[in-house]
Subunit: 337 residues, 2 copies
Amino acid sequence: MNSLSDRIQLAHGRGGRLSLSLINDEIVPRFGKGPLDGLPDAATLGSISGDIVFSTDSYVVSPYKFSGGNIGNLAVHGTVNDIFVSGGSAKWLSIGLILEEGFPMSELQLILDSIKSSADECEVKIVTGDTKVVNKGQCDGIYINSAGIGEKIKEFNLSKSRLAEGDAIIVSGNVGDHGMAILSAREGVNMENGPVSDTASVRSLVLSICQCASKVKFMRDPTRGGVAAVLNEIVSGTKLGAALDSRKIPVSNGAGALAEILGIDILNVACEGRMILICDRCVADNILSVWKSFPEGVNASIMGYINNEAQRVILKTVTGGSRLVDLPAGELLPRIC
Amino acid sequence: MNSLSDRIQLAHGRGGRLSLSLINDEIVPRFGKGPLDGLPDAATLGSISGDIVFSTDSYVVSPYKFSGGNIGNLAVHGTVNDIFVSGGSAKWLSIGLILEEGFPMSELQLILDSIKSSADECEVKIVTGDTKVVNKGQCDGIYINSAGIGEKIKEFNLSKSRLAEGDAIIVSGNVGDHGMAILSAREGVNMENGPVSDTASVRSLVLSICQCASKVKFMRDPTRGGVAAVLNEIVSGTKLGAALDSRKIPVSNGAGALAEILGIDILNVACEGRMILICDRCVADNILSVWKSFPEGVNASIMGYINNEAQRVILKTVTGGSRLVDLPAGELLPRIC
């Protein structure tokens, strides 16, 4: 390779020969021909019988590589997880790349490899996409949008309106690992056993509990804003509140130590491979034991219960006190996904 | 409004209170509640019986406003058109915003209004979305991704493999208006009757020809790379070529004059509301007369025919000569969409 072809040029996004070679050399070999064959402007897919579940997210994480993954993994897991926690089974993804002129081709290849391996793991197909290139200084290397189509899983009937006092709040694993891994990469923190992103799919966790799905009332992945944002959003505008027990909130040593050093509330920090589930108390232990049989659910925990303290999320601290878990008003940790 | 709330802040993309107020004040009122109600991570939509057609594009046009529209119109029309020219009827769109810190709120409102009005015109619903904010200097104001879901229109059976010598090549309107309007806005060219973007939906044009759809073999919107890129892509790898008659290629005065002054080949310049259709010669006049009854098809023209000059696109010039219409190798006009 000469130095020019080592880096992304504006012409890679221009629709001419270089665009075609990028697609033919890097996209088609990875994502197979299938719906991408003939490079149509749109993919014609099969039909699905159930309701369609549709989601999108743009990923602008900084830096784009971090302990545990890169922006490519996030772009797949984030959108796939949004579909699964909405009670859909993700099937097809689109990938839209915005690349900065001069971005190293080798880095793009690494990210495309991550997109491919994450999609394979989640059993979703990348079926359509788009590449744009912007001038140097008008993007931070790479931004990715993914949109996904899934099929509604009939067993789930999720609705905030079904929540009731006494429902159990389960978290599927350690809280805040992703956000702390990003912060660590961004600030160049060099810790032994430092935080590692939890970027992963929640597919198996959701599919594993279909037999008690009717008792599951709400699922959400705590990304931007963390556990605090999800729980505040749930109780906002309702007559319900939530009580969490800090001893029951799983936190890894690496993320916990770094958060403590920096004075960050781990409940505000994003995960990218965890989910919060709220269910009738009678199935909580059952779900917990099913989840604990998966590597991604080994630290799952019933971290609290829904109560009738309207619109308040309260944390019982280790010392026996209690404090309000509020929605962060402003900037805590930007660009974590 | 105070000066802080006049502009986008990093916290608008952080998942906290400012994110919620942006969604509740600007997104929900425009795009209705419907699937956006309760702001789920994914929209649960109805089912559709036919095959699913799925497309995505990211929009990074510079400048984001131009004569005839803005990036919001493009984000709707571009993805909707990709679905229609693929033989699908577009139904649902996602919108992913990437905003630069400091971007004026009033400009965002203008763009969201354009997204809303374009979506209404095309009869598509915005059902899910996402907003990210990046630091000043890491985006050129605003980038938008849209992804769309459509339902395959049964009557169409589009395939390059059905193309044959003698097929007619129809263009639905003036060529190159969009690209020249962008260039004009970018360079601050001040022409009387200068080029105006053709950004529009091809929905009516596609739906109007369903009764002769079986004789339609190929449709495509000539965006990046213009008419030249589409026709070269069609003949590449086949035993077919294309002959165009320059007198039959509709060009507006504004775009034509500016292209001539600048020495730009208008066939390389993008449209955002036109389509190229290739059909059996026997239905060409019929399609032409149907299209001419629509305002957006009034300048439609049979601009040439498929021939057996393998992989060559030839233009018969006004003076009676002929020249090869090649795929541009490198950068001609970046960031036109």
